[in-house]
């Protein structure tokens, strides 16, 4: 089959390389998460595992609209956006395995890390909504300095209920900060369906209350996610202020791997998997109207597998954290907090005779 001329509107002005890159980021996200599931089952992941299965299109498409100098603030389901922004698979793996050379040196879990020096994504915290004010401040800085930079922050459907979301987006709207706020509406906040989170018909209905434009995207169409975000980013870059984007998607796994999704209607997940998977849809598009060959697509799969394999080997070989490092870096000065008095000269915090699993077996 001959390569057809790329229809500029179908490809939203993206080059062939870019179109394939979008696929690669989605595939990398999924393959990496699948590897994490395997490691989780081997109990090599410390703590919970949070998937973005079925949501890769939102994260990848939106982040793809940013320049390197722009700043991204991801959430738990935005692994894809971090990869686009330059996070390395080995960093993700080390984080999840709490390795000593992980991006946070074992201080924080899963994908809670960032890099504001070069790649420009900010390490999130668990408290939902808090990143919205923070990104208002990041982008306020760009506005004050006249820097040509834009910010992008995600919130879940659930996080829109927080006071922090409200205070942050309102502040940014009033200040006309160059900020894009994406509500990733995946139908659930943990077990809570959207209709218990808000009585609004749709999340973009919140935009008018902040005096900003609200736009909806099909989050499972990576090109739509890209296009809508790019327009909002362009608008922000030109001084147009904040845009609220609602991306429609669906969370096919539980809140975390241990969640059995008992609260989901039978068949709902299967339906989304069968008919509305962002990768399947994009593959069909690539090999259909966009004129890529199956071999090209499979080549990406192959390359991604190798990348993830290599990263896994690297991460597994990484050293564990070193206890006393825990005291370093709370402040610039002092550089480390002192050891407490009963720890002076003690090599290991936990002695052999510690048996926390035995708690409660003593007489009370």
């Amino acid at each position: 089959m001959a390569t057809p001329d790329l229809n500029a509107s179908a490809s939203h002005g993206l080059t062939r390389e870019q179109l394939l890159a979008l696929y690669r980021w989605m595939r990398l996200t999924r393959t990496l998460e699948e590897r994490l599931v395997a490691l989780y089952r081997q109990t090599k992941v410390v703590g919970g595992l949070f998937r973005s299965l079925g949501q890769e299109g939102c994260a990848v498409g939106s982040a793809f609209a940013l320049e390197r100098r722009d700043v991204l603030s991801p959430l738990l389901r935005n692994l894809g956006s971090m990869l686009v922004k330059g996070a390395e698979p080995v960093e993700i793996l080390r984080q999840y395995m709490a390795k000593g050379d992980s991006p946070t040196r074992g201080r924080e879990l899963n994908i809670h890390f960032g890099d504001v020096e070069e790649r420009n994504f900010v390490g999130q915290i668990s408290h939902l909504g808090d990143m919205v004010p923070v990104m208002a401040g990041v982008t306020l800085t760009f506005k004050i300095r006249g820097e040509d930079r834009v910010g992008l922050v995600y919130v879940g459907d659930g996080a829109t209920s927080t006071g922090a979301f409200h205070e942050g987006i309102n502040f940014a709207a009033v200040q006309r900060c160059p900020l894009v706020v994406i509500v990733e509406n995946n139908g659930y906040a943990y077990s809570t369906p959207t209709f218990r989170q808000t009585a609004a018909r749709q999340f973009i209905d919140k935009a008018i209350g902040y005096g900003i434009p609200g736009v909806r995207a099909d989050g499972n169409d990576v090109l739509d996610a890209y296009r809508v975000t790019r327009d909002a980013v362009d608008n922000a870059r030109q001084g147009g202020g904040v845009t609220l984007i609602e991306m429609l998607t669906y969370r096919r796994r539980g809140h975390a791997e241990h969640d059995n999704q008992s609260y989901v209607q039978p068949g709902e997940i299967e339906r989304w998997a069968a008919t509305n998977d962002p990768i399947d849809r994009y593959v069909a598009r690539l090999t259909g109207e966009l004129g890529f060959t199956t071999a090209e697509v499979e080549g990406v799969d192959e390359e991604v597998r190798t990348v993830v394999d290599t990263a896994t080997d690297q991460a597994e070989a990484s050293p564990p954290c070193d206890g006393p490092d825990a005291l370093r870096g709370v402040y610039v000065e002092p550089a480390a907090m002192p050891r407490l008095w009963y720890r002076e000269g003690v090599a290991s915090a936990v002695d052999a005779h510690e048996r926390p699993e035995s708690w409660g077996t003593h007489d009370v």
Binding site: V46, G106, R107, S191, S262, A326, D351
Partner: protein, 324 residues
């Protein structure tokens, strides 16, 4: 009567209170059909229905405020924080609105705010917190932090019946590891009364929550060395049981305060000050503290282990104190 877990004990306590008083109702994130992140409210929705087990939006200040309003009009709300770390989002509402309601406006505000707290579980800085000290200087609140399954049940019942607001901390490390056999009947453990978890003569450990168990473990190890350690489980941090503190000081004359929260600004300071004020003359050694190092609680096991107080720390500190 069979043993149940700490977690089941809390559920049993809430269930009994909901049966006893139709004004008792639960609200929180994912606590309905799902039963909550830790399943503390599992089954309550099926039993009591939509209007007594309410799934809320993610809005801690909103939920606590709503509980307060309901309490003014005769309800007895039991609010779940999915993790107690998120209570910080309701800090204004709790310290300014809830705590002062009775004093400034004669408004009854009998609410319980409960949730899983504490570390030793590789939860990282935002799923392991012990925020009790942040509320200690808030007159109007009570703070309960049980260590045993029996107390977990008896104290949640007392908290729900209390006519004033109670923060109820549930150490998540204990949820499924600690078991107990519930006393028969209406088992209520009054707030404000400490418990002697172990009798001893050479020195006293004053502690609460998960470190009660670490202290008991240390006491057991020290007994083998001939050091007899008394362990006081405070159970309630506001109000503190001064008489229990004074009694143990007068008995052993040496005190180690142990808690999981960071040492600076933790509850240990208040306890030390009270001992100074109430029974300084009885001290044969300085009051000393074993607590977490002053850093946000990190996630990686070697780091978390290093930061938190461990049994061996308590053992070493007790040896020092006994030899003083």
């Amino acid at each position: 009567m069979s043993e149940i877990t700490f977690l089941e004990a809390i559920r049993e306590g809430i269930t009994e209170e909901m049966e006893r008083d139709e004004n008792v109702f639960c609200l929180g994130e994912d606590i309905g059909a799902f039963g909550g992140a830790f399943k503390v409210t599992d089954g309550l929705h099926a039993r009591f229905g939509d209007s007594r087990v309410i799934d809320t939006p993610i809005a801690e200040a909103g939920i606590v405020g709503a509980a307060a309003g309901a309490a003014h009009y005769g309800m007895r709300p039991v609010v779940e924080m999915q993790f107690i770390d998120f209570v910080s989002c309701a800090y204004d509402m709790l310290t300014n609105y809830v705590a002062t309601a009775r004093y400034r406006a004669f408004l009854p505000c009998p609410i319980v705010v409960r949730g899983p707290s504490g570390g030793y579980v590789r939860g990282g800085p935002f799923h392991s917190q012990n925020p009790e000290a942040a509320f200690l200087h808030t007159p109007g609140l009570k703070i309960a932090y049980p260590a045993t399954a029996e107390d977990a049940k008896g104290m949640i019942k007392a908290a729900i019946r209390d006519d004033d607001p109670v923060l109820f901390f549930e150490h998540k490390y204990l949820y499924r590891r600690i078991k107990g056999t519930m006393p028969p009947g209406d088992h209520v453990v009054p707030l404000g009364v400490a418990r002697t978890a172990r009798e001893g003569t050479h020195l006293s450990i004053i502690t609460y929550a998960a470190t009660v168990w670490k202290s008991l473990e240390a006491a057991e190890l020290l007994a083998a060395e001939g050091i007899s350690v008394e362990v006081i489980d405070l159970r309630t941090l506001l109000p503190l049981d001064d008489s229990a503190i004074v009694a143990t000081v007068k008995k052993t004359n040496r005190v180690l305060v142990v808690h999981e929260d960071t040492v600076t600004g933790g509850v240990g300071g208040e306890i030390t000050a009270r001992i100074n004020e109430l029974c300084f003359e009885w001290l044969d050694a300085p009051v000393r503290r074993v607590a977490a190092h002053d850093v946000p609680l990190p996630y990686a096991p070697p780091l978390e282990d290093f930061v938190l107080p461990q049994t061996s720390d308590i053992v070493r500190a007790c040896r020092w104190l006994a030899a003083y």
